[in-house]
């Protein structure tokens, strides 16, 4: 293994956790500042994309297999849609979060609703972006020299 790769590998090992932490911060801080589920999802995916670019796709797939991603895509989306359906079952309209805590003075229902929904978005976006990357990266190139 060449020395550049070693440097990159060390760097990604150091950076990986902070990037994920930052993603979590963006995820749960979206109510207060810029950011939210979508941005957090993208950052989360970027951490793993970096991992795959440097450690190789197979290594990343060992950490996060494609089948798991597929399930995460579904679960993430269902978190969102399920929150909407739950508010319907609780007596509100679709996505009427007030039904979650109907007697709250401080919009607790809205807070819970937004939290759940943003979590769903984050999960769905992270897994979908990563899945798209897996599909492109897993495709073997058949490039001809004259195309360079």
């Amino acid at each position: 293994m060449s020395i550049e790769h070693l440097v990159l590998r060390v760097v990604i090992k150091i950076l990986f956790a902070p990037i994920l932490l930052f993603a979590l911060y963006v995820q749960f801080h979206g109510d207060y500042g810029a950011g939210g589920g979508f941005q957090a999802g993208v950052i989360f995916a970027v951490a793993f994309i970096l991992h795959a670019l440097i450690m190789g796709l197979d290594e990343t797939k060992r950490v996060l297999p494609a089948a798991a991603l597929k399930a995460m895509m579904v679960v993430g989306f269902l978190f969102y849609a399920g929150t909407g359906a739950a508010t319907m079952l609780l007596g509100g309209n679709l996505l009427g979060y007030d039904a979650i805590a109907p007697n709250s003075d401080h919009n607790e229902g809205q807070h819970y609703g937004i939290l759940l929904v943003e979590f769903g978005v984050g999960m769905a976006v992270a897994s979908t972006m990563l899945m798209i990357f897996y599909q492109f990266a897993g495709r073997e190139p058949e490039i001809r020299d004259e195309d360079w």
């Binding site: 500042g33 309209n93 007030d98 798209i132 599909q135 492109f136 495709r139």
Partner: protein
Amino acid sequence: MDLLAFAIERYNYWIFITLMMMGLFIVIARGNLIKKMIGLNVFQTSVFIYYISIGKIAGGTAPIYLPEDLKARMAHGGDHAPLPGKDAIGAGAIRVDESLHGGAGFAGNDLQSLAGKAAPPEGAALHSAPEGAANDILAAPPLTIEDHAGAAGAAADLAKAAAEIVYSNPLPHVLILTAIVVGIATTAVGLALIVRIREAYGTIEEDELEAADDIAEFGYVPSKRGLPEQRAGA
């Protein structure tokens, strides 16, 4: 210099129109499929710039409440009755009376007064009063926040806090967040298609693709649509 003022007020509209047209030109006039996708991106991004320009308010700040402002607003907002336009939980499907004008059935028109400012001259010119039934609703005494906030003094505080800080319009931002997601989704599917096209045809140049399809359909390439090399040779 009215004309100059007119131009200065609109320069960024004109610039993003230029950007938009460049993107559209790349999509139509360039034959490489990846370049087409990039042209589409430029086109869409320019539309995003247009939307965000709509929502800009001069001297404004990002639509995130400053902490003290939020505190002031929350202090009066905790235990109020529902604001106009806020349904009771679970109103479900509601019948619309069509004898009323189109959409005049809902409380929409109360909201203009809620926007929290008297209509300035330019605004008034644009908001020429609608005719018919809608007019009556506008003429009716508007519901305002004061009706619900309880104490009049509280409302004054609220108005004061709101007057000090100008926030930009959050709605275009939300719309564009959605549009950005749509854009990346389209890009991903488009690029996946390009990869497949390259595998199937060995090229991603539109001319060569059309030629290959023509051969499949007619058995030859119609002369008018010859490839650049062929035209050069002829």
